[in-house]
Symmetry: C2
Subunit: 640 residues, 2 copies
Amino acid sequence: MKRNIYLKKKTLDEAKAISSNLASLIHLETEVIPVVNASNRTTAEPVFARISSPPFHCAAMDGIAVRAESTYGASEDSPRILSMGQEAFFVNTGNPIPPEMDAVIMIEEVHLIDPQRVEIRAGAFPWQHIRSMGEDMIASEMVLPAHHKITPYDIGALLASGHLEIPAWKKPRVGILPTGSELLEPNQLSFTDPYPPSEMIESNSYVLSGLILEDGGIPVRHAIVRDDPAKLREALLFLLEETDLVLVIAGSSAGSEDYTRSILEESGEVLAHGVSMMPGKPTLLGRTRNKPVVGIPGYPVSAIMAYEELVRPILHQSLGLTNPERPRIKALPTRKLPSKLGTEEFLRVKVGQVGEKFLASPLPRGSGAITSLTRADGIIRIPPFSEGLNENEIVEVELLRPLKEIQNTIVMVGSHDLTLDLLANLLGGSYPPVYFSSHSVGSLGGILAIRNGACHMAGLHLLDPETGEYNFPYLRQYLTGIDVRVIHLVFREQGLIVQKGNPKGIQGLRDLIRQEISFINRQKGSGTRILLDHTLKMLSLKPGDIQGYEKEEYTHMAVASAVAGEIADAGLGILPAAKAMSLDFIPVAKERYDLVIPSLYFEGEKIKRVIQTIRSDEFKDLVFQMGGYDVSKTGEELLK
Amino acid sequence: MKRNIYLKKKTLDEAKAISSNLASLIHLETEVIPVVNASNRTTAEPVFARISSPPFHCAAMDGIAVRAESTYGASEDSPRILSMGQEAFFVNTGNPIPPEMDAVIMIEEVHLIDPQRVEIRAGAFPWQHIRSMGEDMIASEMVLPAHHKITPYDIGALLASGHLEIPAWKKPRVGILPTGSELLEPNQLSFTDPYPPSEMIESNSYVLSGLILEDGGIPVRHAIVRDDPAKLREALLFLLEETDLVLVIAGSSAGSEDYTRSILEESGEVLAHGVSMMPGKPTLLGRTRNKPVVGIPGYPVSAIMAYEELVRPILHQSLGLTNPERPRIKALPTRKLPSKLGTEEFLRVKVGQVGEKFLASPLPRGSGAITSLTRADGIIRIPPFSEGLNENEIVEVELLRPLKEIQNTIVMVGSHDLTLDLLANLLGGSYPPVYFSSHSVGSLGGILAIRNGACHMAGLHLLDPETGEYNFPYLRQYLTGIDVRVIHLVFREQGLIVQKGNPKGIQGLRDLIRQEISFINRQKGSGTRILLDHTLKMLSLKPGDIQGYEKEEYTHMAVASAVAGEIADAGLGILPAAKAMSLDFIPVAKERYDLVIPSLYFEGEKIKRVIQTIRSDEFKDLVFQMGGYDVSKTGEELLK
């Protein structure tokens, strides 16, 4: 069953050279398009002015057109009177200068004596306040070069130089062929009949379509083709007739039903199979019928990376345009980022500006996690010759999000609570928006982030077992010398999240030691873990007796999801997480959740907006409606 | 006739505050849109996952799904045999994990004995190679916040979380009302009957339409309305019914036919008239029928600046989006840039990277010159409290063009020749494109730019009157200590450019002293001026005897245009310029035009491409076809 999966893997640079060769197979036709719709299209030829702009000598001001000679010597002491219609003519800005006239006097400097006569008190010099013919563009001059992506500004220059239509390259047509027997067209998803579904929604083709449109191409999507070599071949050949290049999604990996490569080997040529990039390794580059065919991996992030690195350049090259690059900034990773030698890795990161520094926190690396891109602010490329990046080693981040938005983002690190999503929505809905980026690393992680200057605020619910006091003992222990302020967010209920209907009859923590019950835990340093361990101790229960005590998740929702997915029977978490997944909830304890903010940022505009929002009735009402929360002291500053 | 033109002028910041208040008058409705077309639309509500992603526990690899327990103990020494369909099931990536199974073994590690049995040689641990349900998104989790501009990536997350449609803000509708009796609809321009036209082509509305589309709005253009208050009022009220805000183009200045303000005063409220910005001063902000109305100045650059500073933010605010900012770089101005105190000036600049430095050269400041934007690489904002910027004072430039293109641009300074446009086109048409930015400041200006490290190459045709030698004497004089290489471009013919048919019977330079003949000169330091002065001296003609000797233009085409526009009867220039404007040409001298390149850049990739292109037959043929050029030595390196 074992078989040779890839050709000798190509480096990304080698693959790019192949993709550039493939691009040269594409010869776009030209078409004549109306200038008024030409934005973002690409000129197929240089465009030369048909008329000059302005097309005649014209007034640059509202006033009277005169012959300069006839005004010489006019002054306050000896005003000159000009007869209208002979020596002077009213003109508005843009009007042609009447024959023989060669200067304009501004209307503010003209005294109208009667409809026939005006008085002036200063002479005009020749060509004063006149825009001479061709001042902006001279007929026959080049207005735009070939291979130029047209902007709205260009529309103005094209119209003013006498063009209603121009020759543009036809948009490259990109065939998209989603393959896979396990796939469902999005509109086939049913929420009633058998749910959850047993098929995957095909979304890659629509993501690629959106990217192709942005890159100036026309996506031509084929319906999903099952893993059947005959059908696949037929669909590929059909698309090749209709388009300039074809992307075959999935089926280029190593599975028993991955036929893309063999079809290409039959009908054309495979130039690369396997690229040293991550995500994106199972990419395939080839040609059939003298057109490029690209096998795009099936995992969503891999599909996007393969497209952006190897297909986007083909589209730009076919139009003669420089391949776009994202803006870049320098940032510091919040932790060590190991990477595989020999592979170019694309690490998705959240970026935040805390003080003067930009900080980059890595998102999950899995190529199946589309949210690692939708939530990302940027991408770090780790080159093949590197084994990774260290903390405090400055790296370049390609930005996926406008810098200004990143600068208007509050970086919050620590424990997760569902009310933070509400807070984020309210802040994002006010104007100008303040964005909220929350990193779930547990309460202790939040305290460490404050200590390292890596966040604007931290969310904590840390019970001190000695004193029974929340949060402050930890601040005293870990943040000596750092001045912070503490804003109380909510009291909330922690409890056991169990299957709907509680089939295993769990009553409380004591049941966790039962043999048939599997538990899902939270990570060390999280407030919930500390609460669990404290409570177990009070009840004299041994962690070692609990099945699954060593399995850790990082958020309440992940715990609830593990229970819903029957990975575990119970986990400790908050009520709204149980409710969100329609699970049952057995209360264990009520706890205090506070926000800790370095005094350095406390008076800043962004933090002020946060506190103002937390104190609003709108926020408190929404939190109250979620259930499981006590908002009686929400927004109060806690001292001590 | 004099009247009070503006209200007390607002600073740009005051005007922005008013525009933000106007934005709050707009309340967009929501509409449900298909996710697959949602790119660039804005979410009207937060979107929560309807299903988890993956929607079930699924295989992360192609292989067999097993129960981990049943594999414990398998090793090279004691392989384990599993029966297919009972203990093991084939799965491809993305397939659901069959009930009771909890791990996947990669296909490469499985040995198929027969269709009923497989052998494994290593144990699997629970959840190995399985993507657990909700690993990426958990049902009920927030996928996108409200007021989020949707990207193609987001389409993937929305589809995968079970959304086919989402609520989005309707696009803001922007009425555009072009006004002015002097305006022509673009399609009314005729090239036959009376030419040149006596009206201006209306192009602003189409430029604004393009910008509005980029900003996520829908432009609704009204036909041109003549300067008639009744018609204007009617059109404005009509547009206000149909749209969320209205832009009235022109008619907000001080002319006798500028009615926008009075109509707004009648039917609504004028909040600002006159803003301390340049271009863009005659902008008007007001409201009618509780909707924003913006009076946009009529000059093209003013119109765009008024839109970008005061209307673009309204559109973004109405959608709840952060107003976009352009990427910025630090650059050095190539000369002193004086500016008016109290006014925020937007200076359009070409930007070039020469060595490590970015250099910004100002383009014409006139607000009528749309090419000052279409040719610009960036904009420098000179704040109101500044009287301008000095050479060598680092400034921030907002980029209008991708940085990578700027970095791939050859900066050429010096004398202008029409073959440089050809060269630019060929370079831009090769791949990857090299861009060519040429600054016409005359030959001596080019030498100085080389000396100041402000360009990659200079174009010269400088005759040394003493020796009759071209260019080298000047290089020796001005570039001591700077190592340069010289590539010969062309020999070309200089001559007198005169009206078609030569109505004044000009035979040569001697005729220029005739009283009825007016001349248009080139600027000091240009090769053409040096040639003129030298030849006049040889002929014992006095510059003072030539009418118009003191009137200077900066390019051959500008000289030809002045003759075509009957500003002058004759000017010295090159044959292709006369031909381009259908003028007559009287040869005076043949001269050598060379390119001077600092040795520092000579071996660089960009310059290599330039020289290669100059030496190509394609280039030489095209130059030869223009006429007036001798290409017999084109591309040769000149030594000495």
